[in-house]
Symmetry: C2
Subunit: 167 residues, 2 copies
């Protein structure tokens, strides 16, 4: 069977793929988390910033990034977040910058933590699946049993999500 | 004069423009900074994360974002940064999260600070132009006179840029 290539469509599709797809399609890396089967989404490090945070209790600087579905929901103030929303929290040790007193910067990376919205799959946990990764490997089941209880107790009014958009 | 449209090129270009251009082209907003004429680049809030920081002296959480030229330079460890590099630092007050003891999140936005690399235009300041903005308006000339001296004294070995990529 032969097909005549539709070159214009192909050119447009290629331009799209080269510019957007590597960082935004829903591919994943590595092993899934216990209980939830959440995996690390490919290209998350290029996702858009929602907000930074500082966890003094863990001595960590953190940043929360979102995929396109997440960012649209934040910008439109959509609650609950739609299925397909993915939030990724990156964390590093909070270390002093040698040159400037009082300035702190990211040290060693500690965890990557992920929330995935799938209201059917994760019906028992507010529609959210959770994944906590250390050096790309999921943490144990005991750690994953604690995620939702804290989000439920403290962030229920914002669809179980702590992070607000930092303008 | 009539020209025959090159539809494939046009389709590819349109796909590129629709997907990338709104946030990444070099358009700017508002008034330029004193001394340097640096303006706020359109769409900078969608730029990619380089790193967060915490300035205890200013009681601020901060995030540094970069345009595509900047991110390529960081990923390839290119020094000095090439002309066209733009770095944007967003800053917010460092405020406690009511629900979690020891957690701090962005409060009121304070400043947006910009570094633009143009080795010919800014030859007297290491190739960098600086802009410090409060509510979208540039700070005064006196504040802009202090930028380079501090970067020169403390970050010369990294092309006058403090921020390192947080993996």
């Amino acid at each position: 069977m032969t097909r005549r290539p539709k070159r214009c469509v192909a050119a447009a599709a290629l331009a799209f793929i080269l510019t957007v797809a590597p960082s935004r399609l829903g591919r994943t890396e590595g092993q899934g988390s216990p209980l939830f089967g959440v995996t690390i989404p490919t290209g998350y490090r290029q996702w858009e910033l929602i907000a930074p945070s500082h966890e003094a209790g863990f001595d960590e600087l953190r940043v929360i990034l979102g995929n396109d579905v997440a960012m649209r929901a934040y910008r439109d103030a959509t609650l609950p977040f739609p299925d397909g929303t993915i939030l990724v929290k990156l964390a590093w040790k909070h270390v002093p910058l040698a040159e400037i007193a009082g300035a702190f910067v990211p040290g060693r990376a500690t965890t990557v933590q992920i929330m995935v919205k799938d209201s059917r799959r994760y019906v028992a946990t507010g529609g959210w699946g959770f994944g906590r990764f250390i050096n790309g490997e999921p943490a144990d089941e005991a750690q994953h049993q604690t995620c939702f209880a804290c989000h439920e107790a403290n962030a229920r009014a914002h669809d179980y999500v702590f992070t607000r958009f930092a303008p």
